[in-house]
Symmetry: C2
Subunit: 329 residues, 2 copies
């Protein structure tokens, strides 16, 4: 099943069911007005959405219309939780190595995870609006899951059962604000502006064989200003699976329906697979030449993030955003 | 105006208007079913709630009933944002001094703030359920505001206009998990379990003269196992006002209606005012004797947090919780 949220002027948007080929959609209003509402009562609502999805795919849905990513908000335009892991430890090690910092060995068995802001997500084709290009604007291509309710202390073998939907993420980061902010010790705040998500969220079964062991075994494609700069396989070098990340988050508290848990920037040890964020490219340059050569994103730059299935079809639709300067700066 | 959310079996509870004396309440269902809904359209909804509040205070509200804190959820049982500052820099300096760590001078002009989990708040009288008493369970008595929409880059002189409501907070902390978690560099996650809030949220005008310069000029009373252990004045030694904290949060992103921004643990330089968290007491002991003497909270311990007006009347109702062991640990 594929779900999206259309812009309708409201804060939570309009839930729609989207056909597998992403060409048509159908309003789910008679079933659930918003995705959060569906997640709040998933076991009752999901089968009804699933029936509509089947009719839509069969060309039998009444009042279906053309689906356009440009009209999408994030599947959850605002969420009660956004916790982002750092599962591709290779990425962390590279970035640290570039600044001559040792990575603690514990990072290989104790996940890094930060609590992100979730009140103001932006849509897949919305502009990345910034007050300064000096902040070091970077994209981060990731995968995220949306959970149901998960009890405190959940065991890893049960955590996977709570995964309701998957999405792609652009976890925009302000690299030049990060060092001073992390040095204060309280984690990211100003250095993580509004996050964007793929047009559609999909149930795990949509991934077929590619969804295995709580990981997505497909390349995640990032194109910066139209050039493909990364296609690492999200199933390779992911040290912590999504169930492990959820278990980490649930150690001391309950996690409630509609929580979003991210994978962190997708990265393979094989450098030929390219990069999912500019910081990693710069880290490689730093290690090779002693200085970073590639600048961060500038006003007017674009970033496209997409994942194709084995037949070359887009699974989630594409995140496709441009960086623009805020009015009145 | 005073607002609360009653337990009704739903995730967001039932919005009620509460009389100024906290003795009676009235369902606001014809106006807005939940507090988030009221915040989403505050300029339209608040005047209607205000009229009901006036009728309730005058004893003319239809279907009013006895108000009981035990039936309350947090005013926002789940929220789209919870960002907690550390405005009482004295507290930060003390805790650091106890472990022989210098506090950077920048902490006096650049606020510390962390992004907290907001998907699973607990009510004012709900148990603090923990899987281990070895985690170093501590209370933290604070004040928080709930905001409306605030645009990215807001100036401090406008940030105060976005403050809709105030609450008390128990920002429960797991002290023995904090050092290792902060050392990882990504901020608090497991060391900050579910947060609880006062029974009612109040509009700033309810504080009268005590609301001045974006600070609450009244003592915040913390009683641990029935003993008053702290009554620092929240208006004293608050280095960053609420408008300054909101401005900090908005530097790189929009903040949306229903965001909660906290003051951090209230603390006065005058040690005679006592403490709002055990960590501070232990820091003072460490500085005086070389070792912390007071243990953290144990199963069965209680914590009561309250603020009285100049006539000795409770403004927000009391947070009054006990620590209990999770089932099946």
């Amino acid at each position: 099943m594929k779900l999206a949220t259309l812009k309708d002027g409201s804060r939570d948007g309009q839930l729609v069911v989207v056909a597998r080929d992403l060409k048509t959609a159908c309003i789910a209003d008679g079933i659930a007005p918003t995705l959060q509402r569906a997640l709040d009562d998933w076991n009752f609502i999901a089968p009804q959405l699933g029936e509509l999805y089947d009719r839509l795919n069969a060309g039998r849905a009444v009042n279906s219309f053309e689906f356009e990513s440009q009209n999408c908000m994030a599947p959850l335009p605002r969420a009660f939780q956004w916790a982002d892991g750092s599962s591709y430890v290779n990425h962390v090690e590279l970035v640290r190595k570039a600044r001559n910092a040792e990575m603690p060995d514990s990072f290989w068995h104790d996940p890094l995870m930060y609590q992100g802001g979730s009140d103001d997500f932006i849509g897949p084709c919305d502009d990345i609006v910034m007050c300064s290009a000096e902040w070091g604007i970077d994209f981060e291509s990731e995968i995220a899951v949306i959970t149901g309710d998960v009890p405190m202390g959940v065991k890893v073998q049960h955590a996977g059962e709570a995964i309701r939907l998957l999405m792609l993420v652009n976890d925009v980061s302000l690299r030049n604000l990060i060092p001073a902010e992390l040095a204060k010790g309280f984690g990211f705040l100003q250095s993580k502006p509004a996050t964007s998500f793929s047009p559609v969220a999909v149930t795990p079964d949509e991934l077929g064989d590619a969804w295995k062991d709580g990981k997505v075994h497909l390349p995640l494609r990032s194109s910066w200003n139209g050039n493909l700069v990364g296609q690492p396989n999200a199933g390779v070098d992911m040290v912590f699976s999504f169930p492990q990340l959820i278990t980490h988050l649930c150690k001391t508290r309950n996690v409630r329906a509609g929580s979003i848990v991210g994978s962190g920037t997708v990265s393979n040890k094989d450098a030929a697979k390219g990069y999912s964020c500019i910081a990693e490219k710069r880290a490689l340059e730093m290690i090779a030449t002693g200085e970073p050569l590639t600048p961060f994103m500038q006003y007017g730059d674009s970033i496209k993030i997409e994942m194709l299935d084995k037949n070359g079809k887009s699974i989630f639709g594409a995140i496709d955003q441009s960086v623009v300067e805020a009015d009145g700066v």
